[in-house]
Subunit: 289 residues, 4 copies
């Protein structure tokens, strides 16, 4: 994790069809420009023959400017038809948090941000309800209200997108945002929207999932964080966890336990994204933690 005393570093994420020599090629390119690799993780999916890599390296002795490094990467990665992405520790990602009426995930993210756990800027909170404005205010973050009805949805989403682009937002976190994003919206920000939803075994769909879980007598409740895609709750899974429950738990207890696991799992997914630990391939993620 980067902090003020740390040297400037970069993180490179790579993905392509597997072939020999990929690790050597990238390592050599970085070495030749004076980069020092701090951490590197590589995974080959032998069934799909796909190659995934994360390289975290020190920039302090880099011999060339960043744009030239990127130009070299573009050439090298082009050779292997590699998808690649680079980010720099001195360029914090900009995060927008979307909320509705539940405050636990919002509070948790804002507190972790304040404690230095999330290496990002949070320039705005977006909501379809006025309820949580005072929470954002406590942390001095502007709260943008977009009430949404069936009639106004397309228009309001348009305004939200305009704001997000104007503010150069890198990541959208749906912190219990109770509105389904349109296809237009999710496709505008691919692999850049993280959602959290409750999970039970077996899974319950529809309203009041905790009541259903109680009726069925489940012994676990959990949460799943995933990238939002146009298939609601079906995007690539980033993180999951559960807590135990029992017959003695009321619906209120399940909701409380659900809150705890939701905020832990969401925070973990957001942190991994901010630290460039996640690669998406099809319906799956590779998370180098």
């Amino acid at each position: 994790m980067s902090d003020s005393r740390s040297p400037t570093t970069a993180t490179l994420l790579l993905c392509c069809r597997d072939r020999k020599g990929l690790v050597a090629a990238l390592a050599q390119l970085l070495y030749d420009q004076g980069a020092n690799i701090l951490d590197a993780q590589q995974h080959t999916d032998s069934l799909e023959e796909m190659f995934f890599q994360r390289i975290h390296f020190d920039l302090s002795e880099l011999d060339i400017p960043r744009d030239q490094l990127e130009a070299l990467l573009e050439i090298e990665c082009g050779r292997y038809q590699m998808r690649w992405r680079i980010s720099y520790s001195d360029r914090r990602k900009r995060v927008a948090i979307f909320v509705s009426k539940f405050e636990h995930c919002l509070y948790d993210l804002l507190l972790r941000h304040r404690l230095g756990e999330l290496h990002c800027e949070i320039p705005l909170v977006i909501s379809n309800h006025p309820d949580l404005e005072s929470v954002a205010e406590k942390f001095e973050i502007p709260y943008h209200l977009y009430p949404i009805t069936k009639q106004t949805k397309a228009e309001q989403e348009g305004k939200q997108i305009a704001l997000l682009e104007e503010q150069e937002i890198d990541l959208l976190v749906l912190a219990r945002y109770m509105q389904i994003l349109s296809k237009r919206f999710t496709e505008r920000f691919p692999e850049r929207i993280i959602n959290i939803h409750h999970s039970t075994l077996p899974a319950f769909v529809g309203a009041r999932p905790y009541q259903q879980a109680l009726d069925r007598g489940v012994k676990l409740v959990g949460a799943t964080a995933h990238y939002a895609t146009r298939d609601l709750d079906e995007g690539p899974i980033i993180a999951q966890d559960v807590v135990h429950c029992s017959h003695a738990d009321t619906v209120r207890d399940l909701i409380r336990k659900g809150r705890d696991v939701e905020r832990m799992v969401l925070a973990q997914a957001v942190r991994w994204h901010l630290e460039d630990r996640i690669l998406v391939h099809g319906r799956r993620t590779v998370v180098f933690f």
Copy 2:
């Protein structure tokens, strides 16, 4: 947990519609006969207005014979339309383990039995395949083979039931038994058959669940132990647990992790049943642990 140095004890499980005075009535009845309550747990489901209780008591100073105690319980419980069940620590439950080809749950149960963790007798293993006979032999337990085809299923089940009744079996444990029991079978042993099955979030049905879980990129695999009812895998849940997994896990790794969680969860459910900790109400269990 009972052992040879322990005094003889009894465990009473009770369930009825809630009303005032139930705890007092039962406690008084036991006290009047010289029983000393060692552990008592009581739960009231306030939504359904149901009362559940487990009373574990010492018999060493009981003033009357057991049959007279049971007669008194019958009268008292009848007054409240209470379902009740009593068991005695000096009368070990008799368990039949059903298996097919997977050995991990069988081994685990036999080893735990040997280590004194499961207070029961295991007079027989029943299988539809010959594969695990040598495992049963290692622990000197008779292995009864009933190969099953579509044509012979009814007949073979009939023989199994006859054997189970002849052997006075109290509990059937389906330790990865890959045959669906007929309705006739499950209804013959209500709340006396424990099954284990894998669980993932989301859940996958059909063949090769771990391959499906891998394709979907799940980050947890789990297991659920439940009483078998005629609705396959839908009976009252007794215990559940999960283990974390990642992109680095192959199908073989998921299967290995699945085995670990299956055997832990199954053993826990069996132990709770043997210690008379489980009450079933509708689709749910109350587990006093």
Copy 3:
């Protein structure tokens, strides 16, 4: 868990030397006065021959005033030399939170309180440093600053005690309060001060425990919540938990993981205390959860 729609209830905690008839006696007493037992848990420690019980009951049809009920309990419990304590759901406990410079536990408790997870009032925060005043302000809770030096310690503690008594505080929560309480202080509030401290395997004493844990290569960091006694960090344990860590974790990561487990464990211990689930016997607790 109680809420505004719930009927008024009471919780009775009992502890005495074990003997026959205790469960019956108490259940009968409550029944005779019109109380309906909602939940009851009883534990007998067979080695020490001690009896522990928690009875949660509905007061809505109680035939007598509370003071008469308490008078009857005093008589009955006196007969068995029983320690007992009763609390009522409509009389919220009053909690003082003690902090120094770390904010994560304070935030967590205040947020949980706001979400209705902690059934109590929090009329004040006490600190030896000014740093967290703004956090208390966000939640509109008075912040009382008592800077402490070796010379002023006795005097400042005296003022703190006076304030706590004036405010009729029931529970003191040391939410990372970095001052050792004097013997006079801890003995004034027996079983009413909850402390949280980090735990590792093996344990490290002295400064910078996470650096020591890192140097030793531990794979777990944890936290322990306990009642404060005059033996620092040696009081009866209420709750414990751990999180996994690895070689890839820096000291900052361990501190972050430590914060997560500290706040979860502390919140759990405080909730259990507020719900009257904890009985202390010697160096141990019985927690009916």
Copy 4:
């Protein structure tokens, strides 16, 4: 995990003082000889400036014989004063299991081996007691008995070492072996002896740790697997885990829970060692999982 259908692979473990170009140099060397890297993980300890790497690669298109590859590695690693170690998937490690009277870890390892979870050969079990001979026999593994008294210890250890060397044993697993190995013994097999011991928070030394844990009212019991060094129970930690416990647990329950966590943690540590995932540096391990 390797299986019969897998191609032959090799795993290279590397450790040296950090400097630029290490990743590139190794990757290039392997690429030049036709090796295809399947998985690579690299860690830099920025405080100690140490470099650690695990490279798992496919040998099926290697252009040169293994001994030539190793000669090249020797030259290249020599250049960086690098410690290195290579192993091949078609050369299974040979494991000796040491036991005394407790059978749970022995059974667990033998069962996992049988299920294909542990990629090794287990040619022998060594014990200082005759008790577990029948367990080894069940799995058809020779059982070597070396009763040890204070007087015979040096002599018997000498015989054990001779047997281990004659049998070309790669790894010794102390599966609850209740004898302290001499300094001569542990130094003969550095980083090749894995031990398991119970862990509690706080830790208890001396006899009857579970009774002590009970007296102290701990809420967790755990286990630690580590490499054995001459400082008993102080070697580099490989894996740790815990299970929750409560006032309701008797010493027998704690022992049962301890067994479960011991066998899980030991099996994990052994598997990691067999898969060449562990590097030792001073008192710590780097585990690439």
